[in-house]
């Protein structure tokens, strides 16, 4: 049974929803609008469709694109608002409440924007989109914190499994940001690009960039660079470089850290051991392609993942609940330092420490028809397979 305090909190939560904009009858209008938009299904596209549309831009097409986003964003936001409302109350207090507010504000501001008739409307709408994209930059971080708090608060009896809720939130976020940024970037003209899509995205190049970034961090932290051998070559694919970059960065980061830490633990008795590039097993990256897919395999000899952790690595925040406690108690670990160093100005929050990197990478891979699979060889190393669709004809989205 709820205590008086928790009942009060629940009532507070209920009234928060209705007091969003201060007007009492706003609730009815607001709720009806959300319900109305939530009844519609999101309109999905393939990469090729997006390219086709944005190839030869003219005034008419820009306005058409704006109108599409104008209509589509509220639909996708409405679905998430409904999801958030159906969470247990103690989950929504705190950072998750902040996300709810951000989404409601975004929903309202897009929905209430005037009908887009001409270029002036379109221009102002684009400014609004840019603002919204910036506003929601830290949502993943908020989600991670909120989830951690919720797991800490969940009573012993109630097994709280928010994985599919978080999955849905992140998938939707990938999509919404994609369509918003796509429209914004249609205004830029970069050779080879249509909006955020690189029609000739080279996985090799993305790999190089990700590797260099990871290497820098590794060197800063450990004073050594882990060698990487890249084999194979693949042709270019139509893809969104940011997505691929996120995935590769996450995987290389994990591999490098595993290799270095294993090396350190294996040689801890040797004082003053000079960490050298020469005595570390290289990370092997293999690029291959079939008629419909490009596959990137990243193999490290970082000792693999212990069996008892393996089932949790694709879950959200599982490992971080304990880490939070450790950090609170002042127990730092090498890993924590590493995570903080890897923080970058990413719209997906700090790269590590949230326990979101790997599952989010998987969602990015799956969003346009690919996949991410991991195999661990305990005592040896880990292999990760990233499959990317190269046809560009797969509808966006992930079924869960």
């Amino acid at each position: 049974m709820w205590s008086t305090r928790s009942s009060w909190k629940y009532i507070q939560w209920l009234s928060y929803r209705s007091l969003s904009y201060g007007t009492t009858d706003y609730l009815t209008v607001h709720d009806n609008a959300v319900a109305r938009y939530a009844k519609k299904e999101p309109k999905k596209h393939t990469i090729n469709q997006l390219i086709q549309f944005g190839k030869q831009l003219n005034e008419q097409k820009l306005i058409q694109s704006a109108r599409f986003v104008h209509q589509e964003l509220p639909v996708r936001l409405a679905h998430r608002i409904i999801d958030l409302r159906s969470l247990p109350y103690y989950v929504v207090c705190g950072p998750i409440k902040r996300i709810y507010d951000v989404y409601v504000e975004a929903f309202e501001s897009v929905r209430n924007f005037r009908k887009i008739q001409d270029l002036q409307d379109e221009k102002e709408f684009t400014v609004l989109l840019k603002h919204l994209v910036d506003e929601s930059a830290n949502v993943v971080e908020l989600l991670a914190h909120g989830l951690r708090l919720a797991l800490l608060r969940a009573s012993q009896r109630e097994h709280l499994d928010l994985d599919s809720f978080v999955d849905q939130m992140l998938i939707s976020r990938i999509g919404r940001r994609m369509i918003a940024e796509q429209h914004v970037m249609l205004h830029e003209s970069r050779p080879g690009f249509v909006g955020v899509i690189n029609t000739h995205c080279s996985p090799q190049q993305c790999l190089d960039i990700a590797y260099q970034e990871c290497s820098r961090i590794c060197f800063r932290q450990y004073g050594v660079q882990v060698p990487v051998q890249i084999r194979g070559s693949v042709s270019t694919i139509p893809y969104i470089p940011y997505h691929l970059h996120y995935i590769l960065l996450e995987l290389l980061k994990n591999s490098m850290r595993a290799v270095v830490e294993r090396h350190l633990s294996q040689n801890h008795h040797k004082n003053g051991l000079l960490l050298s590039k020469d005595n570390m097993p290289p990370i092997e990256v293999l690029l291959t392609e079939g008629p419909k897919q490009v596959t990137i395999r990243i193999s490290d000899q970082g000792g693999g993942i212990a069996l008892d952790i393996l089932s949790s690595i694709f879950r959200y925040g599982f490992s971080t609940v304990n880490r939070l406690r450790e950090e609170e108690q002042g127990g730092g670990n090498l890993g924590g330092e590493w995570d903080r160093l890897v923080q970058r100005q990413s719209v997906d929050g700090p790269m590590a420490g949230l326990g979101f990197g790997l599952p989010l990478s998987k969602l990015y891979a799956q969003y346009f028809g690919g996949n991410l699979q991991l195999v661990s060889m305990d005592g040896y190393g880990t292999d990760v397979y990233v499959h990317l669709d190269r046809t560009g004809d797969v509808l966006e989205g992930v079924e869960i």
Partner: protein, 413 residues
Amino acid sequence: MTNPKGIQYMQKYQNIQCICSRFQSGWRNLTNISKASLAVGKPRYIDPQGNDTTQPSNLEQVKAFASRKPSPVTLKRLFEFGSEPSPKKLLTAAQLLHRELPCRLARRVIQLASLPYGLSDMPSVKVVKDMYERSFIDMIQFPKPLDEEEELIFTELIRKIRQRHDNVVKLIAKGILELKRYCGKGTEDISIHDFLDRFYMSRIGIRFLISQHIAMHEPREGYVGVINARCRPADVAEDAANVAKSIAYRHYGEAPDIQLLGNISLSFPYIEGHLHHMFFELLKNSLRATIEYHRDSDIFPPVKIIIADGQEDVTVKISDEGGGIPRSAMNKIWTYMFTTVDIPPEQVLEATEGGAYKGPDADPIAGLGYGLPLSRLYARYFGGELSVMSMEGYGTDAYLHICKLGDKEESLV
């Protein structure tokens, strides 16, 4: 670990069977069946002297034993138990088997009699079902062994039973082909695939237990029954590699190199025969793929075996550069598809690929395109796993995970 879904299925099945039988014939059957169901806790068996007043039918006996729960055992327990064999221990083992085998055999009889799409009526499947029933009757007609002499006779009995069942896989395969001709349903159907998975898994278990007991009578240095106390994956892989390569030479006139990397000296107690079977199948596939993909070149890229020693489990990765498996085929690699699909059922029994493991517990079932799904069952039998990752246009990686502590229970259905 007992499979809860499998047990639910069994119980559901038994309920339905009960209801069906009740309506099949009159009150007399009803009385008999009620008596049999009441006797579930203490199944009766026919006294060798025939002094049983009610004389329950075979079907009732089967049902009575099938409703018992089979007891899964762990590798570790078997290993520890059989470490210092003595006549007393052999007798205890025989008595345990005498209790356990009828239950497992009975469950197969029930399963074979209730297959979907009329598979149970296919002639070859009927042959197999009668075989299991026969073996079941043999077991329950044999009294519980009470001394060394009876134990020896019991061991002979189970040896005979094992031999009787040697060709079961081929017969079932024949039955599936018969079904295909009859109504077009094949192994791509999920309920048939499910049946095969469970049936073969159970068969692996029964044969292993029988072989283990028989082998304890013929002790070998370093072995506990069929369990090699210091099984070295590297050695087993090398043996399997040699066999696979010789087949490749025979067919193609050449063969790629097979390299062994990682923890070569690793050893732990395991069933050598199972390991050999899995390695052989995977290496055979890898060699064939490599040769065919690089047909036009002078040198073949080697097949690499990496042995990783983890805390609780061992992983063996078999990597080839044989071009990989096309994405469209990936979900089919685990189905029981025959390479002999065009051979008429009558000739299936003669089809064989040769080169199978010929040790004391050999299972002469090589060929028929069963390699991968069966290997996965072997891996899963004591809590392991087999997974395959393909890189189209390059090659395939197969990962075999085996629990080296031996503390996982048999996978029972």
